[in-house]
Symmetry: C2
Subunit: 416 residues, 2 copies
């Protein structure tokens, strides 16, 4: 992986060779005032590389996530062969779509359905990334892969307060498609489902939206549905990415080297209750100022929080139960995760007339046991935010490394 780094206008990172295809890195709505970013070049993220795109590459505005279950029912050798065929087809399709091309195959008049469903024809790739992950269930008896299951892919424990819906959790395979164009992200997930017909069925899916694809040339940290800036103290440099996000040479499963582990949590947010809360309370929940994003201990958004600071009455300025205090690396032995979350709205909850909305929390890391699980154990027990949120869906996936030009996703995992 190249060492060269560019900070994109979204404030997230774009990592050298892996992500920079052509010219504009991680930029979409770039207009005249960004002198270094030619606005006319179609925004593309390279599909191939040592590491999968869609993890450390700049976060796009829209998400289409889907989890799939395999439906094949043969001997482990037959099943593994079918899985291999599926992953070859999917890799080729994802590679084409990320380059702005239709799904490979016939798209002409004739006696077969078109290979590509067509709704994204004429659209630019808009920084499409398609990232795959393998769920723990893939390592059961069906494919003879039990001895290739990484120790870090240990089932998540049950957390306090969660209310998980099995129909919105887990899955043998997961696809995270991100793009600045929702149609392009949706098209990717839909076409993979279609190409896999007979081999996989979609188990659950989620659309998400992130920040504004607006005309602004000065992008700010995006806000979540509670109105707070989200992502301020996310991982922002390559060295931290290497240390906390990507699997190193110390892995028990070599096929995961340069891969990463994805934890997905669908977190419902009680918007109506939140909106009735006073600003002071809201700020105490996060430990930050709502409008500026600065820590309650002052300064501006990116200034370091002072966890030791006290109010005149002796109470801590950043309260004991503040989300930020509980989650910060300073208070967790240095642990960090890469957050890549999106807002979602699924309409309304008929019974209560409330909005069914929240955060589709995606995070990447080197080992969920010591990262997401450790943080979430603490948050689920003490976070002031818990009054307003409930975890309702969950998934854990081992995301293999990236692919070279003639490789396919999971090739090393599926080798005989």
């Amino acid at each position: 992986m190249a060492e060269r780094l560019r900070t994109s206008r979204r404030g997230l990172l774009t990592l050298g060779t892996a992500a920079v295809a052509g010219t504009a890195a991680g930029t979409l709505t770039g207009c005249g005032s960004d002198a270094d970013q030619p606005a006319a070049a179609p925004a593309m993220v390279a599909f191939g590389g040592d590491r999968q795109a869609g993890i450390a590459t700049a976060q796009q505005d829209r998400l289409a996530f889907a989890a799939y279950d395999l439906t094949i029912d043969g001997t482990p050798a037959q099943n593994r062969e079918a899985l291999r065929e599926l992953l070859k087809t999917w890799t080729a399709a994802a590679r084409a779509m990320c380059a702005g091309k239709p799904v490979p195959g016939e798209n002409k008049l004739g006696t077969a359905p078109p290979a590509d469903t067509g709704e994204a024809f004429g659209s630019k790739p808009a920084n499409l990334t398609v990232t795959i992950g393998f769920g723990p269930s893939l390592f059961d008896k069906r494919f003879g892969l039990a001895d290739r299951r990484p120790a870090a892919l240990a089932d998540l424990p049950k957390f306090a307060g969660e209310n998980l819906d099995a129909q919105n959790s887990n899955g043998d395979l997961a696809i995270q498609a991100c793009s600045d164009d929702p149609m392009v992200a949706f098209h990717a997930v839909r076409n993979l489902a279609r190409l896999g017909r007979g081999t996989v069925v979609m188990r659950w899916s989620q659309l998400g939206f992130g920040r504004a694809a607006s005309t602004s040339t000065k992008q700010e940290t995006p806000r979540n549905l509670f109105g707070f800036k989200d992502g301020t103290r996310n991982i922002h440099d390559a060295k931290t990415m290497d240390r906390w996000v990507f699997v190193g040479s110390d892995t028990d499963q070599k096929w995961m080297r340069d891969g990463s582990y994805l934890v997905a949590r669908k977190i419902r947010m009680r918007i109506e209750a939140w909106d009735r809360d006073f600003l002071t309370d809201q700020q105490n929940v996060f430990g930050r100022h709502k409008y500026t994003g600065a820590p309650l201990t002052g300064g501006s958004e990116f200034d370091k929080p002072n966890f030791a600071a006290k109010n005149p009455d002796g109470s801590p300025t950043i309260p004991v139960g503040a989300h930020m205090r509980l989650a910060a690396r300073e208070n967790n032995g240095g642990v960090q995760i890469l957050r890549r979350a999106y807002n979602y709205t699924d309409g309304m909850i008929a019974a209560s007339g409330e909005l069914d909305a929240g955060l589709f929390f995606l995070c990447y890391q080197r080992d969920p046991r010591s990262q997401f699980v450790a943080l979430q154990r603490k948050l689920s027990a003490h976070d002031a935010l818990n009054e307003y949120i409930t975890h309702v869906g969950s998934g854990l996936y081992a995301c293999p490394p990236g692919v070279a030009d003639h490789e396919y996703w999971g090739q090393a995992l599926l080798a005989d």
Copy 2:
């Protein structure tokens, strides 16, 4: 209404004074190459005017639609007063949001919740329009408005094949919020719900996405989820808009002069079945070429279809059941409607594992009885598309005219 017209880059119309605020009319992702459109100006659509914005103004990329029911339970005079207060508050809030400002009120620390929920702080208005409509139920006994119900607001008849869900239909009030930024559209609908607490509850809602907010400077006609260009023969000029979309002086209810009638239909599309169909069949269903959008009788996208043309075997080139043949003005006594539809996806249908997706069809017109209803009677009986679609939700709303600076929505309707 000014006569000056500008064709926006989206191919839809922007009508002079009503829509052009400042500089850029209906443009969002405008970059250097559009010489006449300064890219740096925040994209805004004027809220005030003779006619409501969001009808004839250029269509934005995202939709947040919500229908609300009033919950007040007093005498007609009390109820009407409460409705008036609500509409005053809503108008002021919509006016502010469309100008890129927070909901009026206190947003400071203090002993009350902030007036604005905050998730769109820092976002540009991104061409936000907020358009209101009144459902037939508003004219029942509760408000003493029965004698002000326009004849054109006649309940829709039952159509062949529809399967309407009462929980996704109707409502006393409807809000169509459109913007090029989904957060901004969502923020509008959510904040109106919040401001109306105690007076209204949200009945149903729908998010939609339209075309790509991509880097492209040459925008094409957007595609729907069946992969076809949608909007080719929509209304594209002001004279036709006057004739078919806006209520004229011949109305039975003066308060509707310069208003329009909105019909909303949530139409589920059976994507998986469609994707198994051959290209020839797909093209015969619409009567158009999939990739170019041209009519089957040849030429390019915007060329006139030749409904008389025959194949060598004597059959019509544009088949008898083709959606386009059935809906075209040439075959409906000149009748036209203004379509302003969005794609939607609501996740998955758990029972079948199919995508729950389709078209949120919105259309505006002067009189639904002779326009939407006449067309849909024919389509519901004969359209080849019916094999792949089902209407699952429905709403009909009288959208009052626009407001001057100190007016509020529906002021003439609610006058004593």
